[in-house]
């Protein structure tokens, strides 16, 4: 089937790109499981680096999971009603608001973190608590939640459905609970998985907002890259992969499903 020269060339480029992405990932997994990376795989396979990572960094792993959960709750509370409000008021003002809350997608996290630090850095109790990092994570993930739900809501005939329910005597709250939320479910699911995946991996904002007592998983990773031996850094990266790869796959599945429904 790969007869022509162009096809062989295309295949070569595709395979090289795969190798470029995959080889260092495999190296990292190997290094995390090898007794001595410098001597190579002949020094034997071991789980002792993983145990050491657990002893050193279990706190930061749990902090990241907790932050991702809290971030999900916050983005749902803010994002779900907001997406409904935006879908019911299509117009330039809504477009402008959507554009504005999407700024954190475009503006580098470092700049947002500097902005937050300068305004709230002097409020010591807030600055030193985990809620300060949470604000950063919500800021960054909220646009994904809003857009994901909005895309599904915009594709259905919300107005007719709601008018039908209203003539039957449903209050605005009942219509929101019984019509909007169930119909928006594919968007909510896709948005939720995106929020959790992004929150667990967030580094740019978190590095600036964290304190020495509050290190998230990626902050711990940067810490181990700078100060630990290669095997521990790799084992920690492996733990991160085990956490993030299933989430990514679930996220891609849910997003594709939501997109199909929105069309």
């Amino acid at each position: 089937m790969f007869k022509s020269k162009t096809k062989i060339l295309q295949l070569a480029v595709t395979l090289s790109a795969c190798a470029f992405l995959l080889v260092p990932t495999i190296l990292s997994v190997m290094a995390g499981l090898t007794a001595n990376y410098f001597k190579g795989i002949s020094s034997g396979l071991t789980l002792k680096w993983i145990y050491q990572v657990w002893e050193l960094y279990a706190d930061s792993i749990f902090l990241s999971l907790w932050l991702a959960f809290a971030c999900l709750i916050c983005t749902l509370i803010i994002g779900l009603p907001a997406a409904y409000g935006l879908a019911r008021n299509p117009g330039w003002l809504s477009r402008l608001l959507e554009e504005f809350i999407s700024l954190p997608l475009a503006v580098p996290g470092l700049a947002l973190a500097l902005a937050l630090l300068q305004l709230y850095g002097s409020m010591k109790g807030f600055r030193a608590s985990w809620t300060f990092i949470l604000v950063g994570h919500v800021l960054y993930t909220l646009p994904f939640m809003v857009r994901s739900i909005l895309a599904v809501l915009a594709a259905m005939d919300l107005k007719t459905l709601e008018e039908g329910a209203a003539t039957l005597g449903a209050s605005p709250w009942q219509r929101f609970r019984d019509i909007v939320v169930p119909n928006a479910m594919p968007g909510i699911l896709a948005g939720s998985l995106t929020v959790v995946t992004l929150s667990i991996g967030e580094f740019n904002l978190t590095w600036m907002l964290h304190t020495p007592y509050l290190k998230t998983l990626p902050v711990g990773l940067a810490d181990s890259y700078a100060s630990m031996r290669l095997e521990i850094a790799s084992a920690y990266t492996l733990v991160f992969f085990i956490l993030i790869v299933p989430l990514l796959m679930a996220m891609q599945w849910a997003s594709a499903r939501a997109q199909r429904i929105a069309q």
Partner: protein, 267 residues
């Protein structure tokens, strides 16, 4: 509660949150950039002082190189994967999109495993080949980050191309090269510009990758970080953040108007 008040109440949490944690902090950041000794002339200093200007030029050059390399690789691979069905295609596609969830720091570490002192290249080749901490390492890190994002955008556009146009060109005697130049590339152009803008913007603003790799060279995000934490030059850190933010925002605005989709920038 009337219908209209209910809909407005739905928007209230979003308005309060984005006012308190987005609008006001950004205003504060902008004001802080003018509070240094130089006043508002600090924005001219970015262009006048060699330290900042050289960094800006280097950042733009590395980002441009990343953009064109990512476009070339991802368009070739994307067209190939869209036009051919074969065993293992799904696996290749998963491998190419897997890094979407990797933060910049992790990608920096992966480049160190390739080109660092204990890296693969250094072990396989004689002599000391260490490129992880140079502009080349940074370029490879950004490329790693961009390939999956450009690939997804290009593939989405390529699926909508009409293969019969290419067939028509071929039957009229066009060489494969002319088909690419005259039929495929014009069809893909909006998505190429869009994904190119995304790749450029993410490379300009990438902090995580630069944080692990840029120990010897300066790029804008690293200068912002060191000005803020080490030199306590808050005005310059703020001014550079504003400039960087405006550049990346405009680029992504262009990208969105052309492709309609948003891929997570981050990094």
């Amino acid at each position: 509660m009337s219908n209209r008040t209910f809909v407005m109440a739905c928007l209230a949490p979003l308005l309060i949150f984005s006012l308190a944690f987005l609008a006001l902090p950004l205003v504060r950041l902008f004001l802080a950039s003018g509070e240094g000794d130089a006043g508002w002339a600090i924005y001219l200093d970015i262009l006048r002082k060699p330290r900042y200007l050289n960094t800006l030029v280097l950042t733009v050059l590395v980002s441009l190189a990343t953009t064109f390399a990512a476009l070339a690789v991802s368009t070739t691979a994307g067209m190939f994967l869209v036009r051919n069905r074969f065993r293992g295609r799904g696996t290749l596609l998963s491998v190419l999109t897997l890094p979407l969830a990797f933060p910049g720091v992790v990608i920096g570490f992966l480049i160190i495993l390739l080109g660092g002192r204990q890296g693969l290249v250094n072990q396989l080749t004689p002599g000391h080949v260490v490129f992880a901490y140079s502009a080349l390492g940074l370029f490879l890190g950004y490329l790693y980050f961009s390939i999956p994002r450009v690939l997804l955008t290009v593939m989405a556009a390529a699926e909508k191309l009409d293969p019969s146009l290419e067939e028509a060109a071929r039957t009229m005697g066009a060489s494969p090269y002319r088909v690419v130049i005259d039929v495929i590339l014009p069809g893909l152009m909006p998505s190429l510009i869009a994904s190119g803008a995304i790749a450029f913007a993410t490379a300009m603003g990438a902090f995580g990758t630069a944080f692990t790799l840029a120990t010897n060279i300066d790029v804008i995000p690293m200068v912002i970080y060191t000005e803020f934490t080490l030199s306590a030059n808050i005005a310059m850190a703020s001014a550079l953040s504003i400039v960087l933010g405006i550049i990346t925002w405009i680029l992504l605005l262009i990208a969105r108007s052309l492709s309609g989709s948003t891929v997570a920038a981050g990094g």
